[in-house]
Symmetry: C2
Amino acid sequence: MDYEQRLIQLRKAMKEAGIRAYLILTGDPHHSEEPAPYYAAERRYFCPFTGDNAYVLITEEEALLWSDGRFAVSAPQELKGTSYRFIELYRPENLDPYTYLKKHHLYPLGTDFSILSPEDLSELEKAGEVRDISFASLLPSRPALSNDPLWDFSNPQYQDLTVQEKIERVRQKMREAGAGAHLLTSLDDIAYLTNVRGNDIADTPVFYAYLYIDLTGAFLFANPSRLSFSIPGVTVEPYDHIVSFLKERSAVPTLVDPKECNAKLYRLLANPIPGAAPSKLMKAIKGPKEVENIKMAQAEDGVALLKFIAYLEEHPIEGKNEWDLVQILHSFRAEGKHFLGESFTTIAAVGPNAAMMHYAPSEEKHTTIDAQTLQLLLDSGGQYLAGTTDTTRTFLLGKPTEEFIHDYTLTMKSLIALSSSVFLEGSTGVTIDMMAREVMWKEHLDYKCGTGHGIGYLNVVHEGPNGFRYRLVKGKNEGCVFAPGMITSIEPGVYKANKYGIRLENNILCIPDISNDEGNFYRFETITYVPFETKALDLSLLTDQEIAWLNDYHKLVYEKLAPLVDGRLLKILKEKTKIITRQ
Amino acid sequence: MDYEQRLIQLRKAMKEAGIRAYLILTGDPHHSEEPAPYYAAERRYFCPFTGDNAYVLITEEEALLWSDGRFAVSAPQELKGTSYRFIELYRPENLDPYTYLKKHHLYPLGTDFSILSPEDLSELEKAGEVRDISFASLLPSRPALSNDPLWDFSNPQYQDLTVQEKIERVRQKMREAGAGAHLLTSLDDIAYLTNVRGNDIADTPVFYAYLYIDLTGAFLFANPSRLSFSIPGVTVEPYDHIVSFLKERSAVPTLVDPKECNAKLYRLLANPIPGAAPSKLMKAIKGPKEVENIKMAQAEDGVALLKFIAYLEEHPIEGKNEWDLVQILHSFRAEGKHFLGESFTTIAAVGPNAAMMHYAPSEEKHTTIDAQTLQLLLDSGGQYLAGTTDTTRTFLLGKPTEEFIHDYTLTMKSLIALSSSVFLEGSTGVTIDMMAREVMWKEHLDYKCGTGHGIGYLNVVHEGPNGFRYRLVKGKNEGCVFAPGMITSIEPGVYKANKYGIRLENNILCIPDISNDEGNFYRFETITYVPFETKALDLSLLTDQEIAWLNDYHKLVYEKLAPLVDGRLLKILKEKTKIITRQ
């Protein structure tokens, strides 16, 4: 059946259901950043578009696809030969899908409430009737959700708190909010609170589940056959039972985050108490064992990247392509004893490719390194037992221009400025962001992303609520106050279209500095242990303090990695971490 | 009648009115920072406390006064011999007045709704009945509100926009908000929109009034006999008529700021549309004529301060006291052709007095300068036709310690860092604040206030919404995005209890820097023209760029003031703005 036939089938079903329009959203019922392929299947069955951030809208006459500028070229190509029309999101001249629906009054509207946010549903309902409908049943097949065994991550070697202790802390916050229950839908929080992990989402050791906590019990909604162990204080119920369960307990005042809970479940609660999940902040503030394990994972990851640096030194790189490098780096990580997998899709981008922020090479699409290739931007990370890493280094492959050296040095200055900042208790990433940003802004440059994001503990690599960004983005609670124990990335960069992209990224741990009459001061400890490319630095642009910072950092890298390597790797490590001085 | 007799009288009236507690708040019906004395009269009649930020609560058995730590010593002294008990606000062990009322269930409660915010009223009503009651009628007399003529500030020499143009812009925002009317209660906004000024509040050229704008008309509620001129498009009604007027128009959807409107008027609106007043942002972004006039006012103010600097050079200062200096500075300002009065109470504080942030000398209470006096902190400003200024300089009077020189130099570095920052459109004061703050934080110092505030145009000296502060304070909308035309103070400092206080303050204008592919960059132009004390600088702590900034600044001061002075003043100006170099 081709796409047009599928649309005929869909429109027939829509007519029978009595709706004028059907909206297929991107996402899963858990507000996950990277949903399992299962959740994209319906859209991909009815529409040939393969990218993401998509809205598909089908009406009696029209088939529309919205997505963002990243797909402005590929989307129309993919839609060729169908009746679909592509509309680019965020362009001032284009209507967004919700405004389109309201303007053309395409009601009754059908859409899957389990993918929709309560806020968006209310917005859509302002203009007409919206029904909770899914036509996924028309699909002949769809990729299965993982049914692999979940694994017990509660070993005290890995955990500062037991599940009971964590849940008791949540209950304390529930009581303070006047709630008799708490519904949790975000997978990273559920993995954190239950001390359980899974592999339902690529590169992210979480599992599809809901968690319901009341004042005396806790209920995990996940396929019970996936657990070969028990979770103290937690009853396991089948995933799908959440709906009937909530219907029975609808009247209980329930703490729930309307930014994360889907509209289907939210609407089952007669007395929702809107508020952030207590686990958000608990999870962000890493305990001493978590920090110790993360530092071990970072060292193991540092060894993998050191091997990669040695490879670049010792092998002819010309003729290799970006995808080769991804494979090579993976093989080095895989040699690590505690490595479980990447923490996200590796970005290995050479030359101008690195200027595209969302670029990642694939087996099918990549660039080959040649004599003209200027630089390699390598942004990657690993999931370890136990810890999650995220590191970027930019390596010089060819002969740099003055402009490149200047921009590379600027990026280093920006990273150093934020890494060495000191701040009072009460400061947020909105304020501290200025330290990295001002270095760029003074030269009228900018990077079009936050300066950094929180990082999970064997969990999602983009973890809230801590982060650095100067503009508050709706739904990203990065007005969050920094506290010791939070781990965050710093990743400034310079991106010049059709020329090159530069990014340097470390992970930093917030730690106490000193306390005095002014209050409690905090600062950052860098916990990424990977040498920087120093060949591309213009030392005349660095202050004495910045050079000292770099030398101190390389000393730390040496101390952390030297015990783990020997022979030629130790030699390369020594070479790459040696003291730099002006002339 | 002594205070105890007045309390007997009050309790009798409370009993007749059927209330168990009576709460007297500090403030006026317009949410003014410094209300006219008229509004403090009731509290001062029933309670001997002379400070501010007070809550007086009278019950059948108790008489309680809350105020903050500034009055922890003076308040109990003033209350001596009465049945009043003092409770310090913001101490963790103390109940605040609202919690006290709720905990002891002191309902029905009476209080004047015209001083209360709608939010606070709702909060108090959660625990019982609250009635709109004032016993000010028991006072035998109270200071009158000003009935002086208002004055027309609409001359095109002073205004970029006519009243009609301003009101039309407000109407545009009203339409966007779906409002048929807009109720404005804040005096600085009303003065701005009507191009009228008055002298109802000390140091602030505003007047008591309400403004009501609908889609076709505008109504100013102020005593009509005070206006000898008409305001195009605005009908003037007696001040007190606002209540009956709003009752008649209760049903109209009305844009109103619940943070500024009092509960009495707010409750008269059946369809309030809560939102910030459009005039807030309009007023903050100064037009070209306003900026030109403000720069002239700043130069005139610079001459007054130059005269003061000359006075310090040429006269023996020992034996003079802080109050003398206030008078002397006033006399120099009064020589200015366009000077109308101070823009706030002058702070002239020597030695340790300057470490107390709210210190201001008076005729009765001041310190005399002697051979031991280290420094003078002078924070003052003027209201000019046309412009408002706010400047702080710290002068070295004695022999400085190394610590003082270090802290003074640090304050200079902090001011320079923020003054010379560059930032992208979209940045807020919460981010930019870090530039000034980090200089202090790196040395584990801090100043316990925002780094700066917006400044009015012949209006309040503390104007919102622009400002610099790293902590968002409820009710202060300093998440405001900076825009060209905004004028803000920068005033970092070092305050060491029982030793000294240092503050340096300039006013800066936000201006466009360059625009490129990254976006629109903005920066600041300094518009205060007063030489800095350079004797207390340790040049070895300043970078070359910082020394260059200082020399550029002094060159600007020279250029601005030289045409306005001659003779010995010109000589002093030359001397005080001469180029500084290392050794």
